[in-house]
Amino acid sequence: MVTMRSTLKKAAAGFSLSIVGLAALSFLATPLESGAATKIADDGLGATAQICPSGTTQVAGKVGVPANLVNENGDTAKKNAGTAYSDVQCYNAAGEMVAYGNADILYELPSSSLIPLGQQLYMQNCASCHGVHADGVLPNGTTGNYPDLTGLGPATINFWVTTGRMPAANPRDVQAMRRQPRLTVFQSNAIAAWVNSLQPATPYIPSPNLKGANLTVGQDLFALNCAACHTITGGGDALAYSTFAPSLHVATPTQIVDAIRTGPGNMPRFTGNLTDSQVRDITAYVAESIQKPTNIGGVGMGGLGPVAEGFIGLALGVGGLMLVSFWVGDRSE
């Protein structure tokens, strides 16, 4: 005879399985972005306000690849061909461009006083793979195993080292993974200063100013350019041949602009066709909506989409409903 007790036992057995499933998924319960666009308060700086660091001369006007970034062969910074749109450039007393940009993003070159420290750190941490001249040529003369670092700009070094991808955990990996950085930002700047001194190039290390960003524009541009690989919630996705687009949830604004302007690894390089204002808007969208989402539904489940949510729906929803149907329809005798 069916009793409340026997049915409760069945329900308990069934639900305990669902609870185990839910507990297993709890690690995925990181917040889910809502997509609601807001504005960050403007700080009132116009596009050409005095933004150069003190001690430098500010010159207005757009810049292509400046003349002093042409190397001895007459090549322009070959790997970064593409207009660095800026409204101002900042020159030091020796006439070198130490910063450029505008009120939205200021790109700065690390101080040249860091070059000796940078060389020392480079030799300790990087030369075994990238060669003593930072050109990917190993001491025994072999090339092609590790990338040439010259002519890529300080922002490239900044991205790879401050995200912890370099020094590489496993040089044979298809794609280096983000991890706890081995070098501080100061040390990374020093290495960038030294490597850049070998073949000066842009982009410099960006400092995005997120005040006054338009998150709607950021969302539109993110959906058009970034969401294909990184997914609309910024959770990252698998790509071809063991490569993948990483999650955007832990990137700092500087690292985001680094990645957009330098195109690390398999990521495309967005230069002349995204203005600094647009890059700043995309960065603000990632930093605000993607990294600080409002979970309207309560649990974000990692923003991974239908697989995680489907599991919960099937296990708890359909499973639970099945148990209820069994209970309701049980014969009385």
Binding site: A81, C229, G265, R269
Partner: protein, 312 residues
């Protein structure tokens, strides 16, 4: 009861006494079950009150769903439990008379319908013809809205995009693309000049522009002049099922479609290297105008998007 001919020989109607076994509740311990159901209903009341409070105080949205769900679950469970365990358990049997009509009634009805009813229509020949005519015409014209709602014939819209020779490539904001704009490894989604904000422009003409290197290269025989300064343009519509192919991996030189993971090699004319796409992405021939902006050197030489024609 009476001697009515319509009785159909109904049996005597009996009622069950209150002590009969099928009138007892199912639960062995009705008092205990009653306590459990009271608890469920109290939970339901508390949950509904909680929902009201949360709604009035504009609490987080998930509390609305959680409390309402909990209340309805508790109330539903209480209903079911009451019905299953506390009400008379049954089974109850009700005698019925035979439902079918008698043989004489059936044959009399058939005779009345066929002889008298059909005869009425046959008598009025003119009216019968006109009735048939109106029904016929109506059924024909009722098909007209159906056929027109199928929409216009596509003509050659499936085979041809809006790209024309000499048309500038513009991005989503309408800015044309200069050959000095993009770095090696950059990508951009482009549309024909003037069409970047139209439905057709965005749906059909969307093209992905990639700068693969600094010098021109050849993707396929006959396309030597299609890639000025290392820029190459392919239709963004996947030839499998039409998803926009936006994933470019610059070191692998691969365009990946996010929907079913078709991979196209950009160096040899977007030949599918993996995945379900059956044919390469159509390539847009490029040229440079006098001011250094990229223009189309012609339209696409084949239909874009999924194939709709028979293949041998």
């Amino acid at each position: 009861m009476s001697e009515n001919v319509n009785d159909h020989g109904a049996a005597d109607i009996t009622t069950v006494s209150a002590d009969a076994p099928q009138m007892q509740p199912l639960a062995k311990n009705p008092k205990g079950v009653e306590k459990a159901i009271s608890a469920l209903l109290l939970i339901g009341i508390a949950a509904f009150v909680g929902f009201g409070v949360c709604y009035w105080q504009n609490a987080a949205y998930w509390t609305y769903g959680a409390l309402l769900g909990l209340g309805l679950l508790a109330m539903g469970a209480a209903f079911i439990a009451w019905g299953k365990y506390l009400l008379p358990r049954g089974p109850f049997v009700e005698e019925r008379h035979v439902l079918a009509s008698t043989e004489t009634e059936r044959s009399a009805f058939a005779a009345a319908l066929m002889e008298r009813g059909a005869g009425e229509i046959k008598r009025r020949k003119v009216l019968g013809t006109l009735l048939g005519g109106s029904l016929g015409v109506f059924s024909i014209v009722a098909l007209f809205p159906l056929v027109r709602s199928l929409g216009p014939l596509p003509g050659d819209k499936l085979a041809v995009t809006d790209w024309k020779k000499g048309q500038r490539l513009v991005d989503i904001n309408g800015n044309p693309v200069n050959i000095t704009d993009m770095a090696v490894g950059g990508v951009l989604t482009v549309y024909p000049h003037g069409l970047e904000n139209t439905d057709d422009g965005q749906a059909i003409d969307q093209t992905i522009l990639i700068r693969v290197q600094n010098e021109p290269f050849t993707t396929m025989k006959g396309r030597e002049s299609w890639t000025p300064s290392g820029y190459v343009a392919y239709s963004k519509l996947c030839t499998h099922l039409g998803c926009p192919v936006g994933l470019y991996e610059q070191q692998l030189e691969l365009l990946v479609c996010p929907c079913h993971q078709s991979m196209f090699n950009v160096r040899n004319g977007a030949l599918p290297q993996f995945g379900p796409a059956p044919r390469p992405l159509p390539q847009l021939p490029l040229a440079v105008d006098s001011e250094g902006f990229l223009i189309a050197a012609g339209g696409y030489n084949q239909p874009v998007g999924p194939g709709y024609w028979e293949r041998p």
